[in-house]
Symmetry: C2
């Protein structure tokens, strides 16, 4: 049961209070697919430039990720540079060079199209629509977005998420999209926009899942120090969707609804691992055993 | 098994985005004792002025609170006035008239002294010491403090909490007291100062319990709108300690360690009810049944 993932593949420059890296592998698609690959087969759609390093391609391949949909175009790979402040929940973008990403026109290889799970990483809403349109009949479609699209492509975004099952956004975006300051009211308004399930990521404060009839609240996994939060939200989404794909979750079928809660916790676990090192470094050594141990730790410190 | 509570009894003036009340019953001892009274018999120690209204005294008495230790002095009751900003986690003090509280010298009635549970609300550390010294051999001693004492009475405070079992503070105070920005590191440092159990209240983000060998994280109960957060932290402490006193918790004995987690959740439940109305108003109608229903709701939305 493969999960198809679309999104940016990038090089990032990041500065945090713990250090600085001028250029490292990044991008939503990269983080999502690495995190999801611990739970389910993953197929990615994206574009990189001629500068994309063979060892970065190898990292994805080594995790069993299908890169048939990874296009290499003339030019340079998308580049993003930003810095985080002492409060790691806030960051500032210093540089964004779209490069080959500016003309990205995602084309799904034939063997991607009938897969059951689709996760649309944060890209222009119209591109997300175009990817969705190439899938035959996905069982579960989810996606992320960002403040930029809520701001400059509002109508496109509304038309896009109307057909999603799951929207995964952070609390600030939820407020922007709904106009509500209470996260509960925001989630209810967003459910009216289409998705039956809304996940609100709250960084170091955990995550919440909302549906019409119920909700679930999980704290963040307690990290003594966060080295680099870049990609944590995407790793969360990858863990969440990857877990559901791995168990063959069917929203229309008999799946245990508590599986969605477990997926949120697996998402939190993957986000927490991501923060422990710069960029994708933690995924170079991470094992499924470590993931499951952290999931079990989560149960221990939240049960009463 | 009575819980002895000491702290301020006050009149408050409060303005929040939801409204304004110029004068209403307040004070740490009031909120703590009202919240705890749903779980265990409570005996309070405090001072009020000649202006203290019979109906406010009656509210405490109606909840079965023993007011033998409530002294009425010449002068006016402690008065505090403050306002909350849109983000209800922050407030500004506009007026503090200590009045009769300036010369408060707590004296415990004879029948208070051999009670097993003692909760020292936020007052000057030396006064907390003096109350502790009047108790024969309490089984569990806990207390709260505030940024002011961490700042201007640091040594007194350290000498005071050294002999406590439980310290209940908010995250900002934990950072001030420990010099650590990570709440986990802060808790570990505070445990070195004496208390075997540290509870860190995080307002709308929930609460955490730390001990040497384990920790517990609870989200806040989801409120659609917070009318007035005044007293929520004290109501939390009252719920936490009241629950433990009600079940006869014995830190040296055979008590189920998970009871501490349940106490944190009961604390959160009491804090959440407190925020639903201005001042102590919610406690005028609240029932134990409503409390237990909210505790059960907590289990539903946190289990996975």
């Amino acid at each position: 049961m493969s999960l198809v993932v679309v999104g940016s593949i990038a090089y990032d420059g990041v500065e945090t209070p713990h250090g600085r890296v001028d250029r490292m592998l990044g991008g939503a698609c990269t983080y999502i697919s690495l995190a999801a690959s611990y739970f389910t087969p993953v197929k990615i759609v994206g574009v990189v430039g001629r500068d994309f390093a063979p060892e970065d391609h190898a990292l994805l391949a080594d995790r069993g990720i299908d890169t048939a949909g990874l296009e290499t175009a003339e030019g340079l790979t998308f580049f993003w540079r930003g810095e985080y402040f002492e409060n790691m929940n806030q960051r500032r973008t210093l540089q964004t060079d779209l490069n080959v990403f500016a003309d990205f026109d995602p084309k799904l290889p034939e063997h991607y199209r009938d897969q059951p799970y689709l996760l649309l990483g944060n890209i222009q809403p119209k591109l997300q629509q175009r990817v969705r349109a190439q899938m035959t009949a996905p069982r579960l479609v989810g996606g992320d977005t960002m403040n930029l699209w809520i701001d400059i492509a509002h109508e496109d975004l509304l038309a896009t998420i109307r057909h999603w099952d799951v929207l995964v956004i952070n609390d600030e975006e939820a407020h922007m999209l709904s106009g509500e300051t209470s996260v509960y009211k925001a989630a209810r308004k967003i459910i009216e926009l289409g998705p039956h399930t809304v996940i609100i990521k709250r960084g170091g404060d955990g995550a919440m899942l909302f549906r019409r009839d119920r909700y679930f609240v999980a704290p963040a996994f307690p990290l003594e120090s966060v080295h680099d939060p870049t990609g944590a939200g995407d790793s969360f989404a990858g863990g969440f969707f990857g877990y559901l794909a791995g168990i063959g979750y069917d929203p229309a079928g008999e799946s245990d609804p508590a599986e969605l809660n477990r997926a949120v916790v697996y998402g939190s676990v993957m986000g927490s691992f991501c923060c422990e090192r710069f960029g994708v470094d933690r995924f170079r050594t991470l094992t499924r055993k470590e993931i499951d141990e952290r999931f079990q730790a989560f149960q221990r410190f939240t049960r009463f």
